[in-house]
Amino acid sequence: MRLRTDDDIYRARLVYLGPPGYTLPVHLPYAQYGLFVLLVPLFVAIHYLLTFHVEFPAWEIALAMVTTSYIFRHVDPDRPARVVIRTALTDWRRTREPAVEQRDARLVASRIRVREELV
C-alpha cells in the first residue's frame, strides 16, 4: 500500500498579492499582515504608556514591520507563528542554551483518585 499524508495540500503558500488592480511589490503571507496589524497598536500602546501622548505611529509601523519579518523568519508550515511567539515569550532571556537549568514545577499525580471499577 502506498500511503501518503495530505500535508502538502496544507503546505500551499497563500500570499496576499495586493488589492484588485494594484499588485504589491512584495507578496507576503496573509498571516504576516495579520501579525503586523496586531503589533502596530501594541507598539502604539507601549509608546503611549511611555510618553502619554499619541502621534502618527511612524516608528511603531517600522518596528512592527521589523518584528513581523523577524518572527516570520522562524515560521514554517510545521511551526506556526503562535509557537514562535510563545517560545520567544517564555525563553526570551537567552537566545542560546545556557548551562544552568531552572527547575520546573513538578508534575504530581498523587491527588488522583483511583477507583477499581467504573460503577
Binding site: 500511503l3 495540500i9 500551499a12 498579492l17 532571556r93 548551562a99 520546573d104 508534575l107 498523587s110 460503577v119
Partner: protein, 1119 residues
Amino acid sequence: MTPTPPPGSARAVDAQAGNGYHTTRQGSYPTREASSVDDDAVNEDQPVASPGHGAVAVFQAPHAVRDRSGTVAGAESVTRPLNGALKRTGPPEPVDIDSPFLDLFADAEPPAPPASPHTAPTGPGLPPDNELATDELPALEAGTLEADAVEPAQPEGSHGPAGHRDDPPPLTNYPANQSRVPPSRALPAWDAAPDGRREVVQAGLRRDLAEKPDLAEQLDLAEQPDRGEKPTNLPAKVPAGRPPARSSRSQASRPRFSDRDPAVELTISEIAGHLTFTPNTVTAWYWLPEVRWAFRPDAEREALLSAISEQFAGLAGFRLHLRRTTRPFPADEWARIVDRNTPNPLPTVDGAPSWSDHLVSAQRHLLSVNHAEGQTYLGVTFARRSLGNSLTERLLRAFGRGVAEGERRRLGRTVEQFDEVLGAFGMRGRQVTPAELEWLLYRSVALCMSPPSLLSPVSDGRWERGDLLALTEQIERYRTPYGSTLKFVNRMTGEERHVAILSVGRMEPLEIPERHEPWLHFHERLPWAMEISSRVDILGPGDSFRNLEHRLRMIRSQQLDYAEHGIDAPPELERLAKRALVIGDEMTTGLPVDSARAHGWHRIAVGGHTREECLERARRLIQLYSRELRVSLQHPKNQDWLAREFIPGEPIANTGYLRRMPVKLLAAALPQAASTVGDRRGDLIGRTAGTCRRPVFLDMHFPMEVRERSGLAVFVAEPGGGKSTLLGALGYLAARRGVQVTLLDPSGPLARLCSMPELRPFSRVLNLTGSEQGTLAPYSLIPTPSRLEFGDGTAGDREFEIAMSNARAERRMLVQDICSMLVPPQVAREASTAMLLRHAVRQVPAEETSTLDDIVACLSHMDNGEGRELANLLLDTAEMPLAVLFFGHPPAGLLGADAVLTVITMAGLRLPDLKIEREYWSAEEALALPMLHTAHRLAVRRCYGGSMSSRKLVGLDEAHFMEGWRSGRSFLVRLARDSRKWNLAALVASQNPRDILGLDVQNLVSTVFVGRIAEDAEIASEALRLLRVPVNDGYEATLASLSAVDSASSARLGFREFVMRDVDGRVQKIRVDVSYVEGLLDHLDTTPASASAPNGASSMLTPGSSAMPALPSPREPDV
C-alpha cells in the same frame, strides 16, 4: 568555597566520582573502571535506558544458597565490596559468587539497587534469619547511625568515604526525631535475604509508604546534608515543610527554582476503572496487545492494517491518545520459571559457577542489554464534561467520594461502544486496569526514567492503589530556556535523566507492508527504550471533506488572485488543487475508511544518562528515520511542554507539526508491533534482531511437554553459519539443567565442551575412530521395545507386537543399507547384490544380538559364487581399522546412562563430498558414510535407555549424510515420532534444507533455525519453505544478509544470526548470544585459528578474562 560533603551523602559520592550528576550509585560501588572490558562493551553498545537495571530484582535459585555456609556469605559480603575490583582479576576458585548480596553489590556493576536510599529505612519488623549476614553488615550501619545521632550536624571528615560505601546516604542524616531503624533492616541484609524475605521487605516498604506519606519528604531532607548550614538561601515562597531545593556544589550550578510553584497537579483528577476524568473530558483507555509483524505474508499484514484502520475510522469524531511505553524485562520472573522447570540442575563443581550463578549471570546479561517490553495504550477522549458534573465532582471530593455515581453510570453505558470497536480483529484492545493506568501515569511523569522496579507492580501485584502515583512526587523537572533537552531527577534514587522529545515532521510516501516498516515501530530497532505519544483527532468523512474543501477553496482563491493580478501562479498551486480534488473525490465516494482522516501530533521521547548521550541518541534516531523511512523527525524547542504532552490528560503542547493523514497511514504506524519468538521458560539463547530487540528463550522440551508436538528441531545454514556452535550451546544449556544430552559431532570441536569445569565430572567423550570392535554394530543400534512402554490389555499387546516387528524391519533395513555402503558402489548398484543381501538379512534373526558377522557367514554359505564374492567383499572392508566397528558385538556399557553430557566424535574422519560420485571416494571416505549413519543411531540409542519421561536431548550434526538412504528417512521419522513419547528433543543440523524437505518430515519439525544462506537462491527458498515463510517475497535476501560481515572491519564476526521458527509458528530473526556463560564460547569456537587456544587456556580462565566473542560490535550493522 564549597564545603566537603559528609561521607555517605549523595554529594560526597558525586564528588568522588568526579561528576556532577545526582547519582547515588556511581561512587557507592566500585567504579566502572574496575569492571571488565566486556561490561563496558555491553554498556557502550547497548546503552541501558534504565540505569536502575540493577534495581530489577535478580532472582537466584535457592539451590546454591542452601549448600553454602552462612559464615562465608556474611564475611564475603562485607569484604568483597571493598575490593570489588579484585573479583574480576582473581582466580575463579575462591570467588564465592553464591552470595546474593555479592551478586548485587560486589561485582563492578552499576546495577546496584538505586533504591537504597528509600529502602533502607523502611523494612520494619524484619526477623534476621541469616545471623551473620545481618550482624556483620549492619554493624557498620549501626556505627554510622550512632555517630550521626550524636552529632547530626557534623558534616565532614570524620568518616572516610571508603569505610562507608555501604551506607545508604539518607540513613546517615536521617532526622533525629524519626524513629531509628534497627540495624537489621539495613539494605544489605535485606538484599542478602532469600526471596521470601525480600518480599516481606517489599511489603514493608509499601506499608511504610502508605503510612507515612511524608516519608519521601524526609528522605529528601536526608539527601541534603548541608541544608541546615544555609537556611537563609531558601526562597521565601517555598512552603513550610516543603523541602528546599537540593543545594548544589557550586554557585554556578545552583538551579534556580523560584520562578514556579514547585508542584503542579496533573489535570487528571480521577481514575475509575478504565476511564480517566479531567475537569473537562473523560477518556477511556485500552490496552493494545502486541502483534506479530515480521515474516508474515504481505496479504496478512495488509489485512491487519486495514482492520486497524477500520477501527480508527470507527472512532471518528474523537480525540485519541496513543501511548507506547516500556517495561524492563522481568528477568527475575523468568529465572524463577526456569528454576521451577529445572528439578535437577547439574550439581555444583568446586571452582565452577553453580546453577544459581548461571541463572544470575543470565539475568545480569538480560538486564545489561536492556530488553524492554513494549506496552501500548490507546486513550479515547469521548465525552466533554459539563460544568455541573465537574463542580459536583469537586464538591464530592471534599467528602472523599469523587465523580458522581450517576455520571459514571451514564459514561459506563456510552463507553461500551468502544469495547466493541476496539476489541475486534486488528487492535484487539482490552480495557486497561487502574493499575496499568497508574503505571502509565508514572511512566509519563517520569519520562524515560527507570521504573520503580524493585516493587514491580506487574510481578508482585502488591502495590496499593495510588502508591505509584505518589511516587511521582519525587520527580523533579529541569529545563533551560531554548533547551533541547529536559532533565528529570528522581529525588529518591538520585537518578538523573536527560530527555529529548522529537516530533514527527514531514513524511514522504511510505509503502508500508512491502518496503517499509511500520513507522512508529521502526525506532525499536535502536537498542534503547523510547516512549511514544501520539495525539490524534479522527475526522469522519464529513469533517475531513469540509476541512479539505476549505483548503481547496483557499488554493483556488489564491489562483484566482494571481490571475486577477496578471501574474503567473506558482505551478504547485494547480498541482495541489488537483490533488485536493482527487482526495475529495475519494472522500465523497469512497468507504468511510478511505475518507476518514487522522490529524495529529506524534512525538518520540529519547532519554539518556547525560545530555550528550541523549542528544547523540536523538541524532541517531533522526538519522535512522530520515534514511530508512524518509520521515524527518524534528527537535523543537519548548521541550517541557512536549514532555508534558506524554502525560494522559495534559494539554497538547503546540499546534506545530500537525500531521494530516488517512487513517490507513495512522494504522500503519503500528506502535504495538513486536517480534517475540521462543518460549518464556527456556534458556536465554540470544535476542531478536529484526525490527526490535526481545530476549529469546528456548526450552527444547517445551514442544513435547506443553504443546504436545514433536521435539524435532532442524538447523540449516551454510558452513560457517554457526550451526555447530548453536548446537553445542543448546547442548551445554540443556546439560546445565540436568537434561541427558548426547551430541554427535563428527568433526569433533564440541568435544571441548566436556572439558568445561562445570561439566567435566559429568561428561564423557566417545571417539568412534578409536573405539572398540562392535561399537557401531548395526543390529544393536535399534533398541528392542519394552512391554512396559505400552498400555495394558490386548490393545497394548498389539501395539507392542507392532513395535517389535517395526524394530525388526528397521534393523533389517539398516543392516542392508550398511552392507550396501560397505561394498564398492559398482557392486552395490547391481540387482543381484540387493537380492543377495536381502536374502542374507532375512536369514539372520533381526534381534539386537545378531551381528554383521552373521550376515557374512550367511552369504559365504550360499551356494552361488556371487554370494561368496559379496561375503569376501564385506570381509575385505572389515580389514580396515575403522570397519571393525561394524563387526562383532558391542562392548558392554558403551554408553553409560550416568553421564549427563556425552559427545560422540569421529576425530580424524574424512567426510566425503556428497556432490562427487561415490565411485571416486577414497576408501576412508566411503567408510565415513556408514559410520555417520550408524553414529546417528548410536547417539539416539542412548536415549532409549532410561525412563521415558525424563528429559533427553540429542544433537546430530551433519545430518545431510542421511539423505538418499531409506534408513535415513526412517530414522528421522522415528526420531520425530518417538520424541514426544520419550520426551526427547532432537536437534538435527544440516547444510541443506533439501535434505530435510527430501526426507519429507517437515511437518514433524517443531523448531527451525535457518542461518546464513547467501550462495544459492534455490537453497534459500527451500529454507524459507522449511520456515513456512512465503517464498519469492523478498525474504531470500534476508537469509543472505544474516550474519553479514562488516567488510571494513578485519575482526572476526562476533555473533551469528538465524531466522527461527518456534513451535507456535512465529518466525523471527534472532541473534544468538550466549556470552553470558563464562567460557562457553571459547570452548565452542570452531574457527581454526583460535580452536587450539581454548584447550590450553581453559585451565587459566578467569571469570573476567573470557573474550566473549559474541558481544555485538559497537556499531551494529542493523542500527
